[in-house]
């Protein structure tokens, strides 16, 4: 009894998935529950699991292909079972046809996608899932190249095997590498598949990864329709910094960051101001009684916002541990959908990158987001004289459909009191 392998909705918002890697080859024995493949969803890389026993008879999509949720990506069946009927009904572009999904002919990882996308026009790799090499070497036998050419290629991230050699016997020599780097390429009829002038050229095209598509779509839905206004306030963080230093002096388990203190303060202030801790739901506004704080994390692929649930109920230490763990997981792209959905309000911090202040984009259906700037020594007037204090600017983006100016300002006043007098966090 054959089992069809479908592209499953591995996250609630997933519409399509990119099959990054088959974990087992055609012909491998499969048991229910085995991990068949890794699939990149809109936010993270998830495992596609077998739903039946047998042999993986057919992989219907090549590694790197994007397929819509619900499409057939493979078949598990008994070794001798006739699956012709099942396979013919594949809704997904089969490897033999030119891939209709844009950016992913045989590219393996996002890093290689940039170059391969432009390059492999000459010969789409039309084989069942072989690990696609960047290019097939021209001619038979190993590539001939001078030691210098090999070193230069290595240093420039080029594949010596993909460059036509103008030396004796097709030897790739220094001038061939130089030509490839400057975008010309030794004009020769030898190789059909060539690495494009990637590293140094007029431009580089990068196909959209799932995470980038999602960011683009969701945030375009934010700044257009949401009537946003911005409130900026500069806080005196001298006492907060002192408190942090004192806590650190008590031992490693009391070590927290300024950002952790900011998160705790924001969570506490939100608990007291449900009028800004809300979702715009189109036909109603939902004011939350619990505080689930989204914490923006930058990863190599793009922005993702894991959630600290009930942040107002958690102590500084717990928030610190959790925020670090979530950030690490975010960077490894191992966050589960449950971990990055459900926030009631979000915080984004670019202080570590020396940004004085910035306006963040609200994450719908939330109504507000707080952007944190750099904390630095600044001259200010205290009691009529100039003094040096540790100052930090925050900017709150507010959805005017839910939050009025004074409402937002009152929230920020409370937040200021808490951060400028951090002892309040204890009460």
């Amino acid at each position: 009894m054959a089992t069809k392998i479908f592209m499953e909705a591995l996250s609630p918002t997933m519409e399509e998935g990119r099959l990054v890697k088959w974990n087992m080859p055609e012909g491998a024995a499969v048991k229910s529950g085995d991990v068949l493949a890794e699939v990149e969803t809109d936010k993270a890389v998830m495992e596609l699991v077998a739903r039946g026993d047998g042999v993986l008879r057919k992989q219907l999509v090549v590694e790197g292909t994007t397929a819509p949720v619900g499409s057939l990506v493979g078949v598990i069946a008994a070794a001798d079972e006739d699956i012709a009927a099942l396979v013919s009904g594949a809704a997904v572009p089969a490897p033999a046809s030119a891939p209709s999904t844009p950016a992913a002919p045989a590219a393996v990882a996002p890093a290689a996608a940039a170059a391969s996308a432009a390059a492999n026009a000459a010969a789409p790799i039309a084989a069942p899932p072989a690990a696609p090499a960047p290019a097939a070497p021209a001619g038979t036998g190993p590539t001939r190249s001078s030691p210098l050419a090999r070193r230069l290629a290595r240093e420039s991230g080029l594949d010596v095997g993909a460059i036509a050699g103008s030396g004796p016997g097709g030897r790739v020599i220094k001038r061939d590498i130089e030509a490839a780097m400057s975008g010309g390429g030794a004009a020769t009829a030898l190789s059909a598949v060539r690495r494009p002038p990637s590293a140094v050229g007029d431009f580089t095209d990068q196909p959209l990864s799932q995470i980038r598509k999602t960011i683009a779509k969701r945030l375009a839905e934010s700044i257009g329709p949401i009537p946003t206004f911005y409130l900026t306030a500069e806080f005196d963080m001298t006492r907060a910094v002192e408190m942090r230093a004192q806590a650190a002096g008590l031992g490693d388990e009391f070590k927290v960051s300024v950002n952790d203190i900011v998160l705790k303060a924001v969570a506490t202030a939100l608990a007291a101001h449900p009028e800004v801790n809300a979702h715009w739901l189109g036909d109603k506004i939902r004011f939350f009684n619990r505080v689930h704080l989204g914490m923006a994390v930058a990863t190599d692929d793009g922005l993702i916002v894991p959630v600290i649930f009930d942040a107002d109920q958690k102590g500084l230490r717990e928030i610190s541990v959790e925020s670090r763990a979530l950030a690490a997981k975010a960077r490894e792209r191992k966050l589960t959908p449950e971990q990055y959905t459900g926030s009631t309000f979000s915080v984004s911090n670019l202080g570590m990158m020396q940004i004085d202040q910035f306006t963040a984009i609200i994450n719908p259906p939330e109504c507000g987001i707080l952007a944190i700037g750099v904390l630095e020594d600044t001259p200010v007037v205290v009691d009529g004289a100039v003094a040096v204090r540790k100052r930090m600017r925050v900017t709150m983006s507010c959805d005017h459909r839910v939050i009025d100016g004074a409402v937002g300002a009152r929230f920020l006043l409370d937040l200021r009191r808490m951060l400028e007098n951090p002892l309040m966090l204890v009460f």
């Binding site: 001078s146 030691p147 210098l148 050419a149 090999r150 070193r151 103008s166 030396g167 020599i173 220094k174 001038r175």
Partner: protein
């Protein structure tokens, strides 16, 4: 600066060293009364007398042996071979006595001796009088081997060789004695074991020594007109070889040609190539090529001799090959 011949440069070196240290003496065939087979020792017998300039019988093994013995006893002999081809008869004294005495005596006997004479081919001297011996001699631990190609190098190196407390083999050339070059007045020494960059460029390296240095410089000047600029590295001392100078040049130019007078098999160039491939492997854009004598005894016939010898045209062809140019 005065321009003198290679011969005069050697004469000055001998004169200066014999004046400076009266343990230094010259012995060989025709060095005294005849003023030297190639007139290198002109005027020395008159100036220093019979004890310091000694005419020997035609007995290379004999006078080489006397030289070694006198060196062990405290003198500083300069033994002249009329050509190194004749020195084959004396080579037992050079290799088994001079080269090995310090080692075998446990450090008791230094042999501060210089064996000098013309090496390699001249014009139509025939098979037995045209051989280059640097390969044979550079193979032996215990001696140093020098091969100057210009008057300036000849004087400075011979003075250093005479002052060296260990045996030095000094290779000159019949074809070099008449060549001219600038030699400063006043005292100067060239240290043994240091190479000299005679031309600079970053397109290709030529490693060479002795009379081939003149060919190399000719090639460099000719190719410079075509926009190809060479590093011409004159080894000056074959053993010990200045390998750091070789590496520095090859790392810069990324390709090399070795120009040598001798035959191919186990020639000096083979050693240079070994050093280069070991230490500069990742810097090489092409294999290292050698230009050398054809693998035949040197012909006597003029036309054949010309074809057998390494020359500028063959060197240029090799350079173009390593540069991948037509």
């Amino acid at each position: 600066m005065p321009i003198i011949t290679y011969r005069e440069a050697l004469n000055q070196a001998l004169r200066e060293e014999m004046s400076r240290d009266d343990r230094v003496y010259l012995m060989g065939e025709e060095v005294g009364v005849y003023q030297g087979a190639y007139k290198v020792s002109k005027g020395l017998l008159e100036e220093f007398g019979e004890n310091r300039v000694v005419d020997s019988p035609i007995a290379e093994l004999g006078f080489a042996g006397i030289g070694v013995g006198s060196a062990m006893a405290g003198l500083r002999p300069v033994i002249e071979f009329m050509t190194w081809n004749f020195a084959l008869l004396a080579i037992d004294q050079v290799v088994n006595s001079a080269a090995k005495m310090l080692y075998m005596s446990g450090g008791q006997y230094n042999v501060p001796i210089v064996f000098r004479g013309p090496n390699g081919a001249a014009l139509q001297l025939g098979a037995q009088h045209s051989q280059a011996f640097e390969s044979w001699l550079a193979h032996i631990p215990g001696i140093k081997v020098c091969s100057p190609g210009t008057p300036y190098d000849a004087k400075g190196l011979l003075k250093s060789a005479i002052r060296d407390d260990n045996p030095v083999v000094f290779l000159e050339g019949e074809m070099l004695y008449n060549t001219k070059g600038e030699v400063p007045e006043g005292e100067y020494l060239i240290p043994l074991g240091k190479a000299d960059l005679k031309r600079e460029g970053s397109d290709c390296t030529i490693v060479t020594s002795g009379k081939m240095v003149l060919v190399a410089m000719q090639v460099a000047d000719q190719l410079a007109k075509d926009g190809v600029h060479l590093d011409v590295l004159d080894l000056l001392t074959i053993r010990p070889m200045d390998v750091e100078a070789i590496y520095a040049s090859v790392r810069k130019t990324q390709r090399a040609v070795v120009l040598e007078e001798g035959w191919e098999i186990c020639g000096i160039g083979a050693q240079v190539v070994d050093f280069i491939q070991r230490e500069c492997f990742d810097h090489l854009d092409a294999p290292v090529l050698r230009v050398h004598q054809a693998d035949v005894p040197m012909p006597y016939a003029k036309g054949l001799e010309k074809i057998a010898k390494p020359d500028a045209a063959k060197t240029i062809a090799a350079i173009k090959q390593v540069m991948y140019r037509a």
